[in-house]
Amino acid sequence: MIRTIYILWLRQIKRYLRSRSRLVGSLGQPLLFLVALGYGFGPVFQKAGQGNYLEFLAPGVIAMSILFTAIFSGIEIIWDKQFGFLKETLVAPVSRFNIMIGRTLGGATVATLQGIIVFFISIAAGFRPANLTLLPVALLIMMLTALLFTAMGTAIASLLEDMQGFQMVMNFLVMPIFFLSGALFPLEGLPGAIDIVASLNPLTYGVDGLRGALTGQIHIGFFNDFAVLFAVTALFMVIGSYLFSKIEI
Protein backbone atom coordinates (compact mmCIF):
# COMPACT_ATOMS: atom_id res chain seq x y z
CA MET A 1 0.00 0.00 0.00
CA ILE A 2 2.76 2.41 0.95
CA ARG A 3 4.68 1.41 -2.20
CA THR A 4 1.63 2.11 -4.34
CA ILE A 5 1.20 5.56 -2.84
CA TYR A 6 4.92 6.18 -3.13
CA ILE A 7 5.19 5.27 -6.82
CA LEU A 8 2.21 7.46 -7.69
CA TRP A 9 3.67 10.31 -5.66
CA LEU A 10 7.02 9.85 -7.35
CA ARG A 11 5.43 9.96 -10.77
CA GLN A 12 3.92 13.38 -10.07
CA ILE A 13 7.27 14.70 -8.88
CA LYS A 14 9.11 13.36 -11.93
CA ARG A 15 6.56 14.81 -14.31
CA TYR A 16 6.90 18.18 -12.64
CA LEU A 17 10.67 18.24 -12.69
CA ARG A 18 10.76 17.15 -16.32
CA SER A 19 8.44 19.75 -17.76
CA ARG A 20 10.85 22.64 -17.70
CA SER A 21 8.48 24.87 -19.64
CA ARG A 22 5.85 24.42 -16.97
CA LEU A 23 8.41 25.21 -14.31
CA VAL A 24 9.64 28.37 -16.00
CA GLY A 25 6.15 29.50 -17.00
CA SER A 26 4.77 29.02 -13.55
CA LEU A 27 7.55 31.08 -12.06
CA GLY A 28 7.25 33.91 -14.57
CA GLN A 29 3.68 34.65 -13.58
CA PRO A 30 4.31 35.23 -9.86
CA LEU A 31 7.35 37.30 -10.70
CA LEU A 32 5.24 39.48 -12.98
CA PHE A 33 2.64 39.91 -10.25
CA LEU A 34 5.25 40.84 -7.68
CA VAL A 35 7.04 43.31 -9.89
CA ALA A 36 4.15 44.86 -11.84
CA LEU A 37 1.62 44.98 -9.03
CA GLY A 38 4.07 45.28 -6.17
CA TYR A 39 5.87 48.27 -7.59
CA GLY A 40 2.88 49.59 -9.56
CA PHE A 41 0.37 49.75 -6.74
CA GLY A 42 2.93 50.31 -4.02
CA PRO A 43 2.63 54.14 -3.89
CA VAL A 44 -1.19 54.09 -4.00
CA PHE A 45 -1.32 51.51 -1.25
CA GLN A 46 1.07 53.55 0.86
CA LYS A 47 -0.93 56.75 0.34
CA ALA A 48 -4.08 54.97 1.45
CA GLY A 49 -2.31 54.30 4.73
CA GLN A 50 -2.03 50.55 4.23
CA GLY A 51 1.73 50.27 4.53
CA ASN A 52 4.13 48.40 2.27
CA TYR A 53 2.28 46.73 -0.62
CA LEU A 54 5.01 44.27 -1.53
CA GLU A 55 4.86 42.96 2.01
CA PHE A 56 1.11 42.60 1.72
CA LEU A 57 1.25 41.09 -1.75
CA ALA A 58 4.02 38.49 -1.38
CA PRO A 59 2.01 35.99 0.73
CA GLY A 60 -0.90 36.46 -1.70
CA VAL A 61 1.28 35.63 -4.69
CA ILE A 62 2.72 32.58 -2.93
CA ALA A 63 -0.83 31.42 -2.25
CA MET A 64 -1.72 32.11 -5.88
CA SER A 65 1.04 29.92 -7.23
CA ILE A 66 0.06 27.14 -4.84
CA LEU A 67 -3.58 27.44 -5.89
CA PHE A 68 -2.82 27.27 -9.61
CA THR A 69 -0.26 24.49 -9.37
CA ALA A 70 -2.45 22.41 -7.07
CA ILE A 71 -5.61 22.73 -9.15
CA PHE A 72 -3.58 21.97 -12.26
CA SER A 73 -2.06 18.83 -10.72
CA GLY A 74 -5.50 17.58 -9.80
CA ILE A 75 -6.90 18.43 -13.21
CA GLU A 76 -4.11 16.45 -14.87
CA ILE A 77 -6.30 13.39 -14.32
CA ILE A 78 -8.31 14.52 -17.33
CA TRP A 79 -5.21 14.13 -19.46
CA ASP A 80 -4.45 10.76 -18.02
CA LYS A 81 -8.03 9.85 -18.83
CA GLN A 82 -7.75 11.08 -22.40
CA PHE A 83 -4.29 9.71 -23.04
CA GLY A 84 -5.08 6.37 -21.53
CA PHE A 85 -2.57 6.24 -18.73
CA LEU A 86 -5.38 6.31 -16.19
CA LYS A 87 -6.58 2.94 -17.53
CA GLU A 88 -3.20 1.46 -16.71
CA THR A 89 -3.65 2.43 -13.07
CA LEU A 90 -7.34 1.53 -12.90
CA VAL A 91 -6.90 -2.09 -14.04
CA ALA A 92 -4.10 -2.67 -11.53
CA PRO A 93 -4.92 -4.72 -8.43
CA VAL A 94 -4.71 -1.75 -6.07
CA SER A 95 -7.47 0.24 -4.45
CA ARG A 96 -8.55 3.43 -6.13
CA PHE A 97 -8.35 5.17 -2.79
CA ASN A 98 -4.59 4.56 -2.67
CA ILE A 99 -4.19 5.76 -6.24
CA MET A 100 -6.04 8.95 -5.42
CA ILE A 101 -4.02 9.48 -2.22
CA GLY A 102 -0.69 8.96 -4.00
CA ARG A 103 -1.56 11.33 -6.80
CA THR A 104 -2.93 13.96 -4.47
CA LEU A 105 0.10 13.85 -2.19
CA GLY A 106 2.33 14.13 -5.26
CA GLY A 107 0.40 17.09 -6.62
CA ALA A 108 0.38 18.77 -3.22
CA THR A 109 4.14 18.27 -2.86
CA VAL A 110 4.70 19.88 -6.23
CA ALA A 111 2.42 22.81 -5.34
CA THR A 112 4.20 23.30 -2.02
CA LEU A 113 7.59 23.27 -3.75
CA GLN A 114 6.28 25.86 -6.14
CA GLY A 115 5.16 27.99 -3.19
CA ILE A 116 8.59 27.72 -1.61
CA ILE A 117 10.28 28.79 -4.84
CA VAL A 118 7.96 31.79 -5.11
CA PHE A 119 8.78 32.62 -1.50
CA PHE A 120 12.43 32.91 -2.51
CA ILE A 121 11.52 34.94 -5.57
CA SER A 122 9.67 37.36 -3.28
CA ILE A 123 12.78 37.66 -1.17
CA ALA A 124 14.75 38.50 -4.28
CA ALA A 125 12.12 41.14 -5.10
CA GLY A 126 12.66 42.76 -1.73
CA PHE A 127 10.23 40.98 0.58
CA ARG A 128 11.41 40.23 4.14
CA PRO A 129 9.53 37.85 6.47
CA ALA A 130 8.77 39.58 9.78
CA ASN A 131 9.43 36.67 12.08
CA LEU A 132 11.68 33.77 11.10
CA THR A 133 10.41 31.52 13.88
CA LEU A 134 6.99 31.48 12.21
CA LEU A 135 8.36 30.05 8.95
CA PRO A 136 7.40 26.47 9.89
CA VAL A 137 3.84 27.68 10.43
CA ALA A 138 3.93 29.28 6.99
CA LEU A 139 5.14 26.00 5.52
CA LEU A 140 2.35 24.07 7.20
CA ILE A 141 -0.26 26.45 5.82
CA MET A 142 1.26 26.14 2.37
CA MET A 143 1.11 22.35 2.57
CA LEU A 144 -2.51 22.35 3.71
CA THR A 145 -3.52 24.82 1.03
CA ALA A 146 -1.74 22.69 -1.57
CA LEU A 147 -3.47 19.53 -0.38
CA LEU A 148 -6.84 21.21 -0.30
CA PHE A 149 -6.73 22.47 -3.87
CA THR A 150 -5.13 19.35 -5.33
CA ALA A 151 -7.98 17.34 -3.85
CA MET A 152 -10.43 19.89 -5.25
CA GLY A 153 -8.81 19.55 -8.68
CA THR A 154 -9.04 15.77 -8.48
CA ALA A 155 -12.71 15.97 -7.58
CA ILE A 156 -13.44 18.32 -10.48
CA ALA A 157 -11.37 16.30 -12.94
CA SER A 158 -13.22 13.12 -12.01
CA LEU A 159 -16.41 14.80 -13.20
CA LEU A 160 -15.07 16.25 -16.45
CA GLU A 161 -14.84 14.29 -19.67
CA ASP A 162 -12.26 16.40 -21.46
CA MET A 163 -10.31 19.64 -21.40
CA GLN A 164 -13.21 21.72 -22.72
CA GLY A 165 -14.59 21.92 -19.21
CA PHE A 166 -11.23 23.04 -17.89
CA GLN A 167 -11.56 26.61 -19.21
CA MET A 168 -14.91 26.90 -17.49
CA VAL A 169 -13.39 25.74 -14.24
CA MET A 170 -10.55 28.25 -14.56
CA ASN A 171 -12.86 31.18 -15.34
CA PHE A 172 -15.74 30.49 -13.02
CA LEU A 173 -14.04 28.81 -10.11
CA VAL A 174 -10.29 29.23 -9.87
CA MET A 175 -10.11 32.91 -10.85
CA PRO A 176 -12.87 33.97 -8.42
CA ILE A 177 -11.21 31.91 -5.70
CA PHE A 178 -8.00 33.79 -6.36
CA PHE A 179 -9.37 37.31 -6.65
CA LEU A 180 -11.78 37.04 -3.73
CA SER A 181 -9.30 35.62 -1.25
CA GLY A 182 -7.55 38.74 -0.03
CA ALA A 183 -4.45 37.78 -1.99
CA LEU A 184 -4.26 41.11 -3.84
CA PHE A 185 -6.21 43.57 -1.68
CA PRO A 186 -7.43 43.73 1.92
CA LEU A 187 -10.85 42.28 2.54
CA GLU A 188 -11.96 44.89 5.06
CA GLY A 189 -14.70 47.31 4.12
CA LEU A 190 -15.87 45.36 1.06
CA PRO A 191 -19.55 45.27 0.00
CA GLY A 192 -21.54 42.68 1.96
CA ALA A 193 -21.99 40.19 -0.86
CA ILE A 194 -18.28 40.03 -1.67
CA ASP A 195 -17.52 39.77 2.00
CA ILE A 196 -19.75 36.71 2.27
CA VAL A 197 -18.18 35.09 -0.79
CA ALA A 198 -14.72 35.76 0.59
CA SER A 199 -15.58 34.19 3.91
CA LEU A 200 -16.84 31.07 2.12
CA ASN A 201 -13.68 30.89 0.06
CA PRO A 202 -11.17 28.41 1.56
CA LEU A 203 -8.22 30.28 0.03
CA THR A 204 -9.12 33.31 2.19
CA TYR A 205 -8.00 31.30 5.22
CA GLY A 206 -4.83 30.11 3.52
CA VAL A 207 -3.90 33.66 2.55
CA ASP A 208 -4.73 35.04 5.98
CA GLY A 209 -2.71 32.40 7.79
CA LEU A 210 0.21 32.73 5.41
CA ARG A 211 0.23 36.50 5.70
CA GLY A 212 0.03 36.19 9.46
CA ALA A 213 2.99 33.83 9.56
CA LEU A 214 5.10 35.82 7.13
CA THR A 215 4.27 39.45 8.00
CA GLY A 216 2.47 39.42 11.33
CA GLN A 217 -0.70 40.93 9.85
CA ILE A 218 -3.56 38.57 10.58
CA HIS A 219 -7.31 39.15 10.64
CA ILE A 220 -9.05 35.84 11.08
CA GLY A 221 -6.50 34.27 13.40
CA PHE A 222 -4.33 31.15 13.17
CA PHE A 223 -6.74 28.93 15.03
CA ASN A 224 -9.66 29.58 12.71
CA ASP A 225 -7.45 29.52 9.65
CA PHE A 226 -6.12 26.09 10.54
CA ALA A 227 -9.52 24.79 11.57
CA VAL A 228 -11.10 25.80 8.27
CA LEU A 229 -8.18 24.57 6.16
CA PHE A 230 -8.15 21.20 7.91
CA ALA A 231 -11.91 20.74 7.66
CA VAL A 232 -12.17 21.74 4.01
CA THR A 233 -9.12 19.65 3.05
CA ALA A 234 -10.65 16.61 4.72
CA LEU A 235 -13.95 17.30 2.98
CA PHE A 236 -12.35 17.53 -0.46
CA MET A 237 -10.25 14.43 0.15
CA VAL A 238 -13.45 12.52 0.86
CA ILE A 239 -15.33 13.99 -2.11
CA GLY A 240 -12.29 13.54 -4.37
CA SER A 241 -11.82 9.89 -3.41
CA TYR A 242 -15.49 9.19 -3.84
CA LEU A 243 -15.69 10.77 -7.30
CA PHE A 244 -12.41 9.18 -8.34
CA SER A 245 -13.67 5.75 -7.30
CA LYS A 246 -16.69 6.25 -9.57
CA ILE A 247 -14.74 6.98 -12.76
CA GLU A 248 -15.68 4.68 -15.61
CA ILE A 249 -13.71 4.73 -18.81
Binding site: R11, S21, R22, Q82, G84, K87, V91, I249
Partner: protein, 271 residues
Protein backbone atom coordinates in the same frame (compact mmCIF):
# COMPACT_ATOMS: atom_id res chain seq x y z
CA UNK B 1 -21.87 -21.10 -29.08
CA UNK B 2 -20.64 -24.08 -27.16
CA UNK B 3 -21.30 -24.22 -23.45
CA UNK B 4 -18.34 -24.45 -21.09
CA UNK B 5 -18.12 -27.96 -19.70
CA UNK B 6 -15.20 -27.83 -17.38
CA UNK B 7 -14.19 -24.57 -15.75
CA UNK B 8 -10.60 -25.65 -15.27
CA UNK B 9 -10.05 -25.84 -18.98
CA UNK B 10 -11.23 -22.35 -19.75
CA UNK B 11 -9.38 -19.08 -19.30
CA UNK B 12 -12.42 -17.00 -20.19
CA UNK B 13 -16.11 -17.82 -20.02
CA UNK B 14 -18.83 -15.37 -20.96
CA UNK B 15 -22.55 -15.99 -20.73
CA UNK B 16 -25.30 -13.64 -21.90
CA UNK B 17 -23.12 -10.56 -21.57
CA UNK B 18 -24.91 -7.29 -22.34
CA UNK B 19 -23.91 -3.63 -22.09
CA UNK B 20 -26.27 -0.75 -22.71
CA UNK B 21 -25.30 2.90 -22.88
CA UNK B 22 -28.63 4.57 -22.25
CA UNK B 23 -30.97 3.03 -24.78
CA UNK B 24 -28.13 1.96 -27.09
CA UNK B 25 -27.04 -1.67 -26.80
CA UNK B 26 -23.30 -1.85 -27.48
CA UNK B 27 -22.93 -5.53 -26.52
CA UNK B 28 -25.98 -7.66 -26.98
CA UNK B 29 -26.27 -10.93 -25.09
CA UNK B 30 -23.00 -12.54 -26.17
CA UNK B 31 -21.63 -15.87 -24.97
CA UNK B 32 -18.28 -17.44 -25.73
CA UNK B 33 -15.43 -19.23 -24.06
CA UNK B 34 -11.68 -19.38 -24.55
CA UNK B 35 -9.65 -22.47 -23.71
CA UNK B 36 -6.49 -22.18 -21.67
CA UNK B 37 -3.41 -21.70 -23.82
CA UNK B 38 -5.47 -20.71 -26.84
CA UNK B 39 -5.03 -17.65 -29.03
CA UNK B 40 -8.49 -16.26 -29.58
CA UNK B 41 -9.44 -13.49 -32.00
CA UNK B 42 -12.38 -11.16 -31.68
CA UNK B 43 -13.15 -9.94 -35.17
CA UNK B 44 -15.47 -7.18 -36.17
CA UNK B 45 -15.85 -3.75 -37.73
CA UNK B 46 -15.48 -0.55 -35.75
CA UNK B 47 -18.28 -0.03 -33.31
CA UNK B 48 -19.07 -3.74 -33.13
CA UNK B 49 -18.56 -3.83 -29.36
CA UNK B 50 -15.12 -5.44 -29.09
CA UNK B 51 -13.56 -2.82 -26.85
CA UNK B 52 -16.65 -2.62 -24.69
CA UNK B 53 -16.48 -6.39 -24.16
CA UNK B 54 -12.81 -6.18 -23.18
CA UNK B 55 -13.54 -3.33 -20.79
CA UNK B 56 -16.13 -5.46 -19.04
CA UNK B 57 -13.81 -8.47 -18.84
CA UNK B 58 -11.06 -6.28 -17.42
CA UNK B 59 -13.18 -4.63 -14.69
CA UNK B 60 -13.25 -1.18 -16.30
CA UNK B 61 -16.96 -1.27 -17.07
CA UNK B 62 -19.85 -2.96 -15.29
CA UNK B 63 -22.07 -5.01 -17.56
CA UNK B 64 -25.79 -4.34 -17.73
CA UNK B 65 -26.37 -8.09 -17.43
CA UNK B 66 -24.67 -11.44 -17.95
CA UNK B 67 -21.90 -13.39 -16.25
CA UNK B 68 -18.17 -13.63 -16.88
CA UNK B 69 -15.22 -15.59 -15.56
CA UNK B 70 -11.62 -14.64 -16.21
CA UNK B 71 -9.11 -17.20 -15.03
CA UNK B 72 -11.96 -18.60 -12.94
CA UNK B 73 -12.74 -15.30 -11.18
CA UNK B 74 -15.68 -12.96 -11.52
CA UNK B 75 -14.74 -9.47 -12.81
CA UNK B 76 -17.67 -7.90 -10.97
CA UNK B 77 -17.31 -9.39 -7.51
CA UNK B 78 -13.70 -10.45 -7.42
CA UNK B 79 -11.98 -7.52 -9.10
CA UNK B 80 -8.54 -7.83 -7.55
CA UNK B 81 -8.19 -11.55 -8.35
CA UNK B 82 -9.20 -10.83 -11.94
CA UNK B 83 -6.84 -7.86 -12.16
CA UNK B 84 -3.92 -9.99 -11.03
CA UNK B 85 -4.83 -12.58 -13.65
CA UNK B 86 -4.60 -10.55 -16.81
CA UNK B 87 -2.30 -8.22 -18.69
CA UNK B 88 -3.67 -5.79 -21.24
CA UNK B 89 -2.63 -3.73 -24.21
CA UNK B 90 -5.36 -1.17 -24.70
CA UNK B 91 -6.57 0.02 -28.07
CA UNK B 92 -5.37 3.55 -27.32
CA UNK B 93 -1.86 4.21 -26.03
CA UNK B 94 -1.60 4.03 -22.26
CA UNK B 95 2.04 4.82 -21.48
CA UNK B 96 3.26 7.81 -19.54
CA UNK B 97 5.19 9.80 -22.14
CA UNK B 98 7.05 11.78 -19.52
CA UNK B 99 8.56 8.65 -18.00
CA UNK B 100 11.34 6.50 -19.40
CA UNK B 101 10.88 2.97 -20.69
CA UNK B 102 12.26 1.54 -17.48
CA UNK B 103 10.16 3.82 -15.29
CA UNK B 104 6.97 2.81 -17.09
CA UNK B 105 7.83 -0.83 -16.44
CA UNK B 106 8.81 -0.18 -12.84
CA UNK B 107 5.59 1.70 -12.15
CA UNK B 108 3.63 -1.29 -13.39
CA UNK B 109 5.75 -3.73 -11.40
CA UNK B 110 5.15 -1.83 -8.16
CA UNK B 111 1.40 -1.59 -8.73
CA UNK B 112 1.26 -5.34 -9.35
CA UNK B 113 3.51 -6.07 -6.38
CA UNK B 114 6.16 -7.89 -8.38
CA UNK B 115 8.78 -8.69 -5.71
CA UNK B 116 11.68 -6.24 -5.68
CA UNK B 117 14.24 -8.99 -6.03
CA UNK B 118 13.02 -10.23 -9.38
CA UNK B 119 11.56 -6.98 -10.74
CA UNK B 120 14.72 -5.61 -12.31
CA UNK B 121 15.66 -8.88 -13.93
CA UNK B 122 12.16 -9.51 -15.25
CA UNK B 123 11.98 -6.00 -16.70
CA UNK B 124 15.28 -6.49 -18.50
CA UNK B 125 14.25 -9.89 -19.84
CA UNK B 126 11.03 -8.51 -21.25
CA UNK B 127 12.65 -5.41 -22.70
CA UNK B 128 15.14 -7.68 -24.33
CA UNK B 129 12.29 -9.80 -25.68
CA UNK B 130 10.68 -6.80 -27.40
CA UNK B 131 14.10 -5.42 -28.38
CA UNK B 132 13.94 -2.25 -26.34
CA UNK B 133 16.59 -3.02 -23.74
CA UNK B 134 19.10 -0.58 -25.20
CA UNK B 135 16.47 2.18 -25.03
CA UNK B 136 15.50 1.58 -21.43
CA UNK B 137 16.51 5.00 -20.16
CA UNK B 138 14.89 6.95 -22.98
CA UNK B 139 11.73 8.98 -22.53
CA UNK B 140 8.76 7.29 -24.15
CA UNK B 141 7.58 10.52 -25.78
CA UNK B 142 10.23 10.28 -28.48
CA UNK B 143 9.16 6.77 -29.51
CA UNK B 144 7.35 5.67 -32.66
CA UNK B 145 3.96 3.98 -32.48
CA UNK B 146 5.50 0.57 -33.00
CA UNK B 147 8.01 0.99 -30.21
CA UNK B 148 5.29 2.12 -27.84
CA UNK B 149 3.23 -0.92 -28.74
CA UNK B 150 6.15 -3.24 -28.04
CA UNK B 151 6.70 -1.59 -24.70
CA UNK B 152 3.03 -1.98 -23.83
CA UNK B 153 3.23 -5.68 -24.64
CA UNK B 154 6.30 -6.09 -22.42
CA UNK B 155 4.56 -4.18 -19.67
CA UNK B 156 1.41 -6.28 -19.95
CA UNK B 157 3.50 -9.40 -19.40
CA UNK B 158 5.52 -8.11 -16.46
CA UNK B 159 3.40 -9.61 -13.69
CA UNK B 160 3.22 -13.01 -15.48
CA UNK B 161 -0.51 -12.89 -16.20
CA UNK B 162 -2.50 -15.97 -17.16
CA UNK B 163 -4.48 -14.07 -19.79
CA UNK B 164 -3.29 -11.36 -22.13
CA UNK B 165 -5.82 -9.00 -23.72
CA UNK B 166 -4.72 -7.15 -26.83
CA UNK B 167 -7.18 -4.61 -28.21
CA UNK B 168 -6.18 -3.86 -31.81
CA UNK B 169 -2.49 -4.32 -31.02
CA UNK B 170 -1.32 -3.57 -34.53
CA UNK B 171 -3.61 -0.70 -35.44
CA UNK B 172 -1.89 2.14 -37.27
CA UNK B 173 1.39 0.28 -37.60
CA UNK B 174 3.23 -0.45 -40.82
CA UNK B 175 3.18 -4.05 -42.10
CA UNK B 176 6.75 -4.73 -41.05
CA UNK B 177 6.12 -3.68 -37.46
CA UNK B 178 2.90 -5.67 -37.45
CA UNK B 179 4.79 -8.80 -38.42
CA UNK B 180 7.29 -8.06 -35.72
CA UNK B 181 4.62 -7.86 -33.07
CA UNK B 182 2.95 -11.10 -34.13
CA UNK B 183 6.32 -12.79 -34.00
CA UNK B 184 6.70 -11.81 -30.33
CA UNK B 185 3.22 -13.01 -29.54
CA UNK B 186 3.81 -16.33 -31.22
CA UNK B 187 7.10 -16.81 -29.39
CA UNK B 188 5.30 -15.98 -26.22
CA UNK B 189 2.65 -18.56 -26.78
CA UNK B 190 5.26 -21.24 -27.03
CA UNK B 191 7.44 -20.11 -24.12
CA UNK B 192 4.91 -19.01 -21.50
CA UNK B 193 1.70 -20.72 -20.58
CA UNK B 194 -0.60 -17.89 -21.51
CA UNK B 195 -3.99 -17.39 -23.10
CA UNK B 196 -4.27 -14.54 -25.59
CA UNK B 197 -7.46 -12.75 -26.57
CA UNK B 198 -6.97 -10.12 -29.24
CA UNK B 199 -9.23 -7.97 -31.38
CA UNK B 200 -8.44 -6.82 -34.84
CA UNK B 201 -9.99 -5.85 -38.07
CA UNK B 202 -7.02 -7.07 -40.08
CA UNK B 203 -8.46 -10.38 -41.20
CA UNK B 204 -5.18 -11.77 -42.49
CA UNK B 205 -3.63 -11.42 -39.04
CA UNK B 206 -6.43 -13.27 -37.36
CA UNK B 207 -6.23 -15.98 -39.95
CA UNK B 208 -2.53 -16.44 -39.42
CA UNK B 209 -2.36 -16.20 -35.66
CA UNK B 210 -5.63 -17.29 -34.09
CA UNK B 211 -6.56 -20.82 -33.06
CA UNK B 212 -10.12 -19.72 -32.79
CA UNK B 213 -12.15 -16.64 -33.76
CA UNK B 214 -15.50 -15.06 -32.95
CA UNK B 215 -17.05 -12.65 -35.40
CA UNK B 216 -18.97 -9.82 -33.80
CA UNK B 217 -21.13 -7.17 -35.44
CA UNK B 218 -23.60 -4.71 -33.94
CA UNK B 219 -22.89 -6.13 -30.51
CA UNK B 220 -23.80 -9.71 -31.46
CA UNK B 221 -21.61 -12.69 -32.09
CA UNK B 222 -22.50 -13.92 -35.56
CA UNK B 223 -20.38 -17.02 -35.61
CA UNK B 224 -17.29 -18.61 -34.15
CA UNK B 225 -14.82 -21.40 -34.71
CA UNK B 226 -11.35 -21.97 -36.09
CA UNK B 227 -10.43 -19.99 -39.22
CA UNK B 228 -10.45 -23.24 -41.17
CA UNK B 229 -13.96 -24.09 -40.02
CA UNK B 230 -15.26 -20.64 -40.89
CA UNK B 231 -13.81 -20.79 -44.37
CA UNK B 232 -15.33 -24.20 -44.82
CA UNK B 233 -18.84 -23.28 -43.70
CA UNK B 234 -18.89 -20.13 -45.84
CA UNK B 235 -17.17 -21.90 -48.66
CA UNK B 236 -14.56 -19.16 -49.04
CA UNK B 237 -10.79 -19.04 -49.38
CA UNK B 238 -9.89 -16.50 -46.75
CA UNK B 239 -11.23 -15.16 -43.50
CA UNK B 240 -11.68 -11.81 -45.22
CA UNK B 241 -14.11 -13.37 -47.67
CA UNK B 242 -15.77 -15.39 -44.94
CA UNK B 243 -16.34 -12.22 -42.97
CA UNK B 244 -17.71 -10.46 -46.03
CA UNK B 245 -20.10 -13.29 -46.74
CA UNK B 246 -21.27 -13.36 -43.12
CA UNK B 247 -21.72 -9.64 -42.50
CA UNK B 248 -22.18 -8.42 -46.03
CA UNK B 249 -19.64 -5.65 -45.61
CA UNK B 250 -16.04 -4.66 -45.49
CA UNK B 251 -14.28 -3.61 -42.34
CA UNK B 252 -14.49 0.15 -41.96
CA UNK B 253 -11.41 2.26 -41.42
CA UNK B 254 -10.58 3.87 -38.12
CA UNK B 255 -11.33 7.57 -38.03
CA UNK B 256 -9.25 10.17 -36.21
CA UNK B 257 -11.08 10.92 -33.02
CA UNK B 258 -10.98 13.16 -30.04
CA UNK B 259 -7.63 11.75 -28.98
CA UNK B 260 -5.84 13.71 -31.69
CA UNK B 261 -7.69 16.80 -30.62
CA UNK B 262 -6.57 16.31 -27.04
CA UNK B 263 -3.04 15.76 -28.09
CA UNK B 264 -3.07 19.18 -29.71
CA UNK B 265 -4.49 20.78 -26.60
CA UNK B 266 -1.95 19.13 -24.41
CA UNK B 267 0.89 20.33 -26.54
CA UNK B 268 -0.38 23.86 -26.30
CA UNK B 269 -0.48 23.57 -22.55
CA UNK B 270 2.76 21.88 -21.86
CA UNK B 271 5.06 23.70 -24.24
Amino acid sequence: MSQPKNQENYAIQVQGLTKKFGSFTAVDNISFSVKRGETFAFLGPNGAGKTTTIKMLTTLLRPTSGTMLVNGYDPINDQDAVRRSFGIVFQDPSLDDELTVYENMEFHGVLYKVPDKILKQRIEELLNFVELLDRKNDLVKHFSGGMKRRLEIARGLLHTPKVLFLDEPTIGLDPQTRNHIWKYLKDLNSTEDITVLFTTHYMDEAERVADSVAIIDHGRIITGGSPAELKKTTNTNSLEEAFLSLTGKKIREEEAGSIDQMRMNRRMWSR
